[in-house]
Symmetry: C2
Subunit: 201 residues, 2 copies
DNA sequence: AAGAGTAGTCACCAAAGGGTGACATGTCAA
DNA sequence: TTGACATGTCACCCTTTGGTGACTACTCTT
């Protein structure tokens, strides 16, 4: 048997990702990970300390949350020049697409509603930072326009998260086909309509 | 020991509710329920068949989903007379309040995102019926007004579910305090604004 | 009052989970 | 080449879980 600590650690972390992707958190445990990684479970304790720490290591090992660039479309200046409604709407579209392209993130998001653990904490932290930065960069404008921008974007952001999570198992929600591109186009259009009608002032 | 089958069955079902309320689904199992109900677990198999069937029995034993009356405020006619935006907004407010007053439902809703089981199926069925009926009763109007009412209400409904579920563990979302009445008033106001600005035509 | 059938008890099983101590073997420096 | 240490293996432990067979004892009918 070849021996290589770092390689083994990677094998273990990869196994976490695979298990998470295919079966969610329920099947995740020391034994299962060891089996999947084809590694003795004692190594998980030796290298990481235990399951919580392994989860944390997994959490920082991948890009589970959309980057700032991804949300802004990589063009912050261009976005700033747009009227706020369009800018907001663009960010929301990007957000939805970014989440939909990250099955592992959906899984974590789902689990987050049920139980908090080291992994969900990592994700939560990254997310908060991202949200705060976005708000700061993008809406120094319009604090006193009478519309509660935070509340509106909270609603739309929450909706996106829920629908992405839900679409993993169920394909229709309130007569909208959240399992298809078409359905999401409808949702994007609705978000745009809401932004333009409500955020403008 | 007094002997009474029906009473024992009730004790078991009550235990499910208590376990669910305090610890969610993770702690739910034959052994745990038997322990909590202070009953031998073999009775669970004898009386219900097993955990899935017990969950189903639990599911039909309580009012886990807002009734039609609760959503409409008990006054369908009055609601029908209102303009659609106001009506929609009222229903959404009622929906949010109804969910928030049902901790067990939040728990089931949360679990639903992670795994489907007999309980979530029961809830899902009731919910579908409710949603369909609402749509039929309330918006025979305005099919071709250019706005995608289904998409908009899908977004707002999804947002409510997510925020209710999330507020069990985390108290702030996107700078909105979803743990307090005030926060929810802000959200309700935002929903009203959205309905009035977007559904009107 | 007696017996039948049911409600409840007890003891057990196999499987799976988390966790650990002791051993074997590969790797690398002296 | 020889050790020393780090890497990997193996064999256990205990607890919990789902699930079942066999027994006891209550209740109700006749």
């Amino acid at each position: 048997m070849k021996r290589n600590k770092e390689e083994t650690k990677d094998k273990i972390i990869d196994a976490v990702g695979r298990l998470l992707a295919e079966g969610g958190f329920r099947k995740l445990g020391v034994n299962a990970v060891a089996r999947e990684a084809d590694v003795d479970k004692v190594l998980i304790y030796r290298y990481f300390g235990g399951m919580p720490e392994l989860l944390r290591a997994f959490g920082v090992s991948g890009d589970f949350w959309p980057t700032f660039e991804e949300l802004t479309g990589g063009d912050l200046e261009g976005l700033r020049r747009k009227p706020l409604p369009q800018a907001a709407s663009t960010v929301l579209h990007n957000f939805a697409r970014a989440l939909r392209s990250r099955p592992l993130t959906s899984e974590i998001l789902a689990w987050e509603t049920v139980e908090r653990n080291e992994l969900t904490e990592v994700l939560e932290k990254v997310r908060e930072d991202s949200a705060v930065r976005l708000l700061e960069e993008l809406s120094p404008v319009a604090e006193e326009s009478g519309v509660d921008i935070a509340a509106i974007t909270a609603l739309l952001g929450a909706a996106i998260m829920y629908l992405v999570v839900r679409s993993r198992h169920v394909k229709v929600f309130n007569a909208v086909d959240i399992g298809s591109e078409d359905g999401w186009l409808r949702l994007e259009a609705a978000m745009t309509a809401i932004c333009e009608a409500c955020i403008g002032e």
